[in-house]
């Protein structure tokens, strides 16, 4: 049981560390440009749209 707890702790810690670590490689004097594609969560956006339209309707 104790072994199980320690393995679980290591597992969770490794997830936390892996999720938070950003490794950068390359020449710091030559900055690189990253073209990031932002993925919009449609479900979240629909919630926002509903909230705004409800607010407009209530104020009308």
């Amino acid at each position: 049981m104790r072994k199980m707890k320690s393995i679980t702790a290591i597992f969770l810690l490794s997830i936390c560390l892996y999720g938070c670590t950003v490794k950068a490689v390359g020449d710091p004097n030559r900055p690189i440009t990253i073209n990031a594609n932002i993925v919009v969560d449609i479900r979240g956006l629909k919630n926002t749209a509903n909230n705004i339209e409800d607010m407009v309707a209530k104020g009308g």
């Binding site: 932002i38 919009v40 479900r43 979240g44 919630n47």
Partner: protein
């Protein structure tokens, strides 16, 4: 072997809870900062809401598939209310794009989602444009 089985089950449950949280997760977008321009757009929309609904029920104004209203006839004041409403909507859509860092590609997605919400909220008989481009009465 006997001690490993509960651990494997526990690990699988843990992994399952992680994957479920990913499935249940939905991003929270909002107008975080209501600038005077955004506040004015929201107030403007609220003020004309009743008149807009009336004109929609008369078939004079419809909701197009781009998230904007469209004049369906030449009634008095229809053009003005359509222009004012669309101007305010554009301010709100752009604020969502800018304040949630969607980038330039986010604007069409925002207008598409708002168009869908407007179709959902339209009253029976209101003119709406389907994603295919066809105009129907809801």
């Amino acid at each position: 072997m006997r001690t490993k089985v509960p651990f494997i089950i526990f690990l699988m449950m843990l992994m399952g809870s992680f994957s479920m949280s990913v499935v249940a997760w939905a991003a929270q977008y909002d107008i975080r900062e209501k600038t005077p321009q955004i506040q004015q757009a929201l107030s403007g929309r609220q003020a004309r809401y009743g008149e807009l609904q009336q004109l929609k029920s008369q078939g004079m104004i419809g909701e197009n598939n781009q998230g904007f209203v469209q004049a369906m006839g030449n009634g008095p004041g229809v053009g003005e209310i359509v222009n004012a409403e669309n101007r305010d909507r554009q301010v709100i859509y752009q604020a969502i794009v800018d304040q949630n860092q969607f980038g330039s590609g986010g604007y069409p997605q925002v207008t598409m989602v708002f168009a869908e919400v407007q179709r959902d909220k339209a009253a029976p008989g209101d003119p709406i444009q389907l994603p295919s481009g066809e105009w129907v009465k809801k």
